[in-house]
């Protein structure tokens, strides 16, 4: 538990962490709350998301435009993990996907196809192809194995190709 904290070794990274926390905690709470619909669970999600951020602070680019999207992605993904864990505990049948926010506006066909992907696939493609993370970095951010990341990327590309063909994007 404590070991990851030792990774934040420079003043700059420490202050980056606090800045991110102050600037994004409310947005991240709102994102998590929309998934979990419960304030205690949403707070847990925000806390867990910040633990993930602390562990990976050296690869977090604090360029504001890029950071906002990344914080939304991490918060939402963490909240979904908690949702799935809670659902398992409650022996509720898992749905494959959780309702995504309707981004609707200004999505062209290619982005619309990406939006249709299951949440985990969409997140991983975003992290890989927009934020430029490699499989190992994505694995650390999402706390899954690099092999799993590679499998999900493969499946996502197959699915995306199907959607592109259907929508005549190719």
């Amino acid at each position: 538990m404590l070991c990851y904290l030792a990774m934040i070794e420079t003043e700059e990274e420490r202050s980056k962490f606090e800045k991110i926390y102050i600037q994004y905690r409310r947005l991240m709470y709102t994102v998590a709350f929309r998934v979990l619909n419960n304030s205690e669970d949403a707070e847990d999600a925000v806390h867990t998301a910040f633990i993930r951020i602390a562990k990976n602070i050296e690869i977090i680019n604090d360029d504001v435009g890029s950071l906002t999207g990344l914080m939304i992605t991490i918060a939402r993904n963490t909240a979904i993990d908690i949702y799935r864990k809670r659902s398992k505990q409650a022996t509720v049948e898992l749905t494959d996907d959780i309702e995504a926010p309707n981004t609707e506006t200004n999505l062209d066909e290619s982005a619309g196809c990406l939006e249709k992907l299951p949440e985990r696939q969409k997140t991983i493609l975003l992290l890989k192809y927009h934020y430029g993370y490699n499989n190992d970095e994505i694995a650390k951010l999402l706390e899954i194995t690099p092999t799993n990341v590679a499998k999900i990327v493969y499946r996502a590309k197959v699915k995306l190709r199907e959607y592109y063909e259907k929508e005549d994007v190719l």
């Binding site: 538990m1 404590l2 070991c3 904290l5 030792a6 934040i8 070794e9 420490r14 962490f17 606090e18 926390y21 905690r25 409310r26 947005l27 709470y29 709102t30 994102v31 709350f33 929309r34 304030s39 205690e40 949403a42 707070e43 847990d44 925000v46 806390h47 910040f50 633990i51 602390a54 435009g65 906002t68 999207g69 939304i72 992605t73 926010p101 309707n102 981004t103 609707e104 506006t105 200004n106 999505l107 062209d108 290619s110 982005a111 196809c113 990406l114 939006e115 969409k122 493609l125 975003l126 192809y129 927009h130 590309k157 995306l160 190709r161 592109y164 190719l170």
Partner: protein, 226 residues
Amino acid sequence: MITDEMIAEAAAKYNDALIQYWQNVEMEEHEFSSKFERKMCRLIWKVKFPYMHKALKSAACILIAFLISFASVMTFNVEARAAFTRWIREVYEDSIVYEFFGEKSETASLDYRVTWIPEGYELVEEFDTEISYAALYQKGNDYKEGFVVEWSYVESGDKIALVTYGEEYQCEDIYINGYRGSFYKSINDNNSNILFWVNEDEMVEYHLNSYLSLEDMAKIAENIKK
């Protein structure tokens, strides 16, 4: 065929739409709970004390304390306290978890200060908030010549884990200024010792992590005063 460039372009557009969507969403009116604030305070404090934690890690000193929201390993010993007390200790395979019950008193405050330290030690860093306090003291540059003292409010449902990762410690019950606690002495010289106690009147937990002897640690603890 889908190229990486095509996916990157779609991902960029989707990301922009995502940001735009959330920028137009009304933020939830929410006051973060004191439990959340405490957990975040602890996280930020750990971030602020990287040197000590690096030293602890390199020394394989792995008896640490943090607030947790649930325990995930099997209990094999639960030591229930008498009904009038307000915490219990559960011994797990690789950690010892304290769970607290009751509310803090209205007159409680965290206005404590360390009024005695062993000769040669000095305050290196401190982290002071309304709900917790932590400080690192050190003598010279050797991490073994340092100690971290922390205290914070606890409330019903809070859990604090001393993570042992299976390392062996000798546990001894102690009293600090009349309040019951425990001294965990590492049987391995490379690991630090922990002194843990609870002021049950004010619902404040304290812990002191160092390589010092029980005698010195108890003296520091007894001299944490308002």
